[in-house]
């Protein structure tokens, strides 16, 4: 709506207004929220001084829930209702998930798997929404103010469905998402700005459930991702599972219940963490079939898990090939994610790159800190900031063609935002619709790629077979999310697109969840909505007035009078107590000024680009 607030360089639209912007690392194991205060990014602690929020939600009954440490403490007592590592389920169908080690029950559901709890079947999006809402409240309490917006991090290797699910979760939590950014890129921002680093760096990010490796060129505030790779289902959890399996095998026992599974995994995780500092530990866990009491040394742990570390190193080699670089061209390797505390991981990275990895940042906090720095700039709080992120799409996008083959439309590692167009035609006389199946992945067969969505283009004017030329444009925005538009070139008719996402939620489902969501029920939504509607309407009026003062001359008398009328209606609506009415009138004003605003902005960008060219010649 605030489209008209085109700021001059070095000026925020309202210089006295500081917007509260946060960076959120929504992790598999734990999550954090950070913000820039007094020019420094810092993680925000809870009431007890803890910055980490375990990414665990426990449902107690239909309405009550525990989130974070309280939920984690009860994981072993109530595993079936205590949802941990939900990030691994985001944007996933039942067949994509390895449920063998999960201490809670999954339910097959159209679009995305669900979790069965005492409070009913919960979508991973809802569970993640609870975690995000908790962090949002923490930030609001810290600043005693509303949050203007948030940057949320996702694994670089997340596909479209996983990204969309994350954005949906943020919407459920009532957060305005300024941008989704990739976790290794966020880490590079925090690292690069702290260390005044220049040159080509690798970020090795092994978290609780995901692995990313990105190659970035850092120069003068620009963070250019050259290539990214990884595995969105490989992380510290898998080391726990491998160790749990090893313990069972050594003890000759098996797990008989969800409680057994939860206890065993907790014990495995404790051993794993202890073995980062110690050479030998004792694994003690009581299962229903008997007790495990084993001595375990680091070599045994490493032997049980070395295949996992090797998988990460394969991804490292592949990403270097994608970037067209050899390992000696990498100036440093930044280690991110709690799992990089494992000595075997550091050793593998050191052996490959032949120099010591950079571990001087807190691997748990660095992603949230980088996100906070970016959020601060995106919110307009840092007008002199010269931070620029040029990230890439991690996986190729393609469409299904004859015989179940994939035709690649957008290749992986292309800088985003990006758009690619492809022409299609009709194969029958009078055909008015066309179906498209969009997939993501590197394999040649549709069956080996991830299905993203099925599109139906409708409203194609009837023509003879092969005459229509339907140009379908695939746009990947700065969040890495795909949008599709289509236009018949001969008639100029825009085709209507019905999207059936293969994974993820429809807008209706989101709306229903928002209604049901505790995070919105808890606050006094109506009073708040009224205040927000007034503030938004006021902001738009102010912006429109100043835009008219500067560029009013661009408008015809008729255009001007339409805008004046819409402004008058909006001014009058401010005294109303009906938030919906204020919003509707304000929306009408935004619509009335849309063309004017677009013209101003296009003009502004064209001027700025031309200015750059002249400067540089």
């Amino acid at each position: 709506m605030a489209l008209l607030q085109i700021s001059e360089p070095g000026q925020t639209p309202n210089p006295h207004e500081r917007r509260i912007a946060v960076g959120i690392d929504l992790g598999t194991t734990h999550s954090l929220v950070a913000s820039v205060r007094h020019g420094v990014a810092e993680c925000l602690p809870d009431g007890q001084g803890r910055v980490i929020l375990p990414s665990v939600v426990r449902y107690l009954d239909a309405t009550r829930r525990q989130i974070g440490f309280d939920a984690l403490d009860n994981q072993v007592n109530d595993p079936g209702n205590t949802i941990a590592s939900v990030k691994r389920l985001m944007g996933r169908g039942i067949n994509d998930v390895d449920a063998s080690h999960l201490p809670y029950a999954l339910v097959d559901a159209p679009g995305m798997v669900k979790v069965r709890t005492i409070a009913g079947e919960k979508s991973p999006v809802e569970v993640s929404g609870e975690i995000l809402a908790t962090l949002r409240f923490r930030a609001e309490d810290t600043f005693n103010d509303d949050i203007f917006g948030a940057v949320i991090t996702v694994p670089a290797y997340f596909d479209d469905a996983q990204r969309q699910a994350t954005k949906d979760a943020a919407q459920l939590a009532g957060l305005n998402v300024l941008r989704l950014i990739n976790e290794p890129t966020a880490a590079a921002i925090a690292y690069g700005l702290d260390n005044a680093a220049e040159g080509v760096y690798a970020v090795y990010d092994l978290g609780g459930g995901t692995f990313d490796v990105s190659i970035l060129r850092l120069s003068a505030g620009v963070f250019e991702v050259l290539a990214t790779g990884g595995d969105s289902a490989l992380g510290g959890d898998d080391y726990d599972r491998a160790l749990a399996d090893w313990l069972l095998q050594e003890a000759g026992l098996q797990v008989d219940s969800l409680e057994d599974q939860a206890r065993l995994l907790a014990a495995a995780r404790q051993c794993k963490e202890a073995l980062s500092a110690e050479d030998i530990v004792t694994a003690e866990v009581d299962l229903s079939a008997g007790s495990i009491d084993l001595s375990l040394n680091r070599e045994q742990f490493e032997a049980a898990t070395t295949a996992l570390t090797q998988r990460t190193m394969q991804a490292v080699r592949k990403v270097l090939r994608d970037a067209g670089l050899s390992k000696d061209e990498i100036k440093g390797v930044v280690m991110v994610g709690g799992s990089t505390r494992m000595p075997q991981v550091r050793q593998a990275v050191r052996a490959f790159f032949e120099h010591d990895p950079l571990v001087n940042l807190n691997p748990d906090e660095v992603v949230a800190l980088g996100a906070a720095i970016q959020a601060n700039q995106l919110a307009g709080n840092n007008p002199d900031g010269d931070l620029l992120l040029l990230d890439v799409i991690p996986l190729s996008l393609g469409i299904e063609t004859m015989g179940g083959l994939v035709e690649r439309i957008v290749p992986r590692n292309q800088t985003i935002p990006t758009a690619m167009a492809q022409d299609f035609t009709t194969y029958k006389d009078g055909q008015t619709a066309l179906a498209l199946h969009v997939v993501q992945g590197e394999r040649d067969l549709v069956a080996d790629c991830r299905s993203l969505a099925r599109f139906e283009l409708r409203g194609i004017p009837p023509m003879a077979a092969g005459v229509a030329r339907i140009r379908v444009t695939f746009t990947v925005d700065a969040d890495g999310l795909l949008n599709v538009s289509a236009k018949e070139q001969v008639s100029g008719v825009e085709a209507r697109i019905d999207v059936k996402p293969s994974y993820g939620l429809s807008d209706d489902q989101i709306a229903q969840m928002l209604k049901d969501s505790f995070s919105t029920a808890q606050a006094d939504m109506q009073a708040r909505a009224l205040v927000e509607a007034r503030v938004d309407a006021d902001r738009l009026l102010l912006a429109t007035r100043s835009a008219l003062a500067v560029d009013g001359g661009l408008l015809s008398a008729e255009e001007r009078s339409q805008i004046d009328q819409a402004m008058l209606a909006s001014e009058q609506s401010l005294s109303s107590n009906d938030a919906a009415h204020i919003e509707a009138v304000s929306k009408a004003l935004a619509q009335a000024t849309e063309a004017f605003a677009a013209a101003r902005m296009n003009h502004g960008i064209a001027q700025a680009l031309a200015g750059k060219n002249i400067e540089n010649i």
Partner: protein, 171 residues
């Protein structure tokens, strides 16, 4: 300048094949600083859409300008000489013979070293053709001849791709 400006206008560069890659990279970043949607993140969805159009356009131009083969093909097309890579595959017999020899050499190679040696040979040939392109496009403006060289380079690019896949499998 507008969204329909050609790549060279958009980047403020001379319309020619020879370009300084470092300067091109710098220009790309300078333009993205002005137009990237992140610069307008606090200004709503409509502003994001407009910024995205510009940013996408700048990235598209950059992809084309930085790749010598794409740049050469684009220059031919701007001059009205379509490359028609898909429909027009007629090539001189000598060139086709060499292609066949390379394919056979690739099939016969069973060590990484043999493949690397072949890759070096192909690279040398590519370099020579690119120099030829520079001369045809920038010195003599012989676009008809340049189109032929561009097509030859496309064959080489495809072969290099296949060769790299073989190298990946062998390594």
């Amino acid at each position: 300048m507008n969204l329909q400006s050609d790549d060279f206008e958009l980047f403020g560069l001379q319309r020619q094949f020879t370009q300084d890659r470092a300067a091109l990279d710098e220009r790309w970043k300078a333009l993205q600083r002005e137009a990237h949607p992140d610069k307008f993140a606090a200004q709503g969805a409509a502003a994001q859409r407009i910024a995205m159009q510009w940013s996408v356009r700048i990235n598209e131009a950059y992809q084309r300008l930085k790749d010598p083969l794409k740049r050469a093909a684009y220059l031919c097309e701007l001059a009205g000489f379509a490359v028609n890579a898909h429909s027009n595959t007629a090539m001189p017999p000598a060139f086709l013979m060499q292609q066949m020899e390379w394919r056979e050499a690739m099939d016969d190679a069973n060590t990484a070293d043999a493949l690397e040696a072949l890759a070096d040979e192909v690279q040398a040939s590519k370099k020579q053709l690119l120099q030829q392109c520079a001369s045809l496009l920038d010195d003599t403006q012989d676009y008809a001849a340049a189109v032929g060289t561009v097509r030859a380079l496309m064959f080489i690019e495809k072969f290099t791709h296949d060769l790299n896949q073989r190298l990946d499998q062998t390594a």
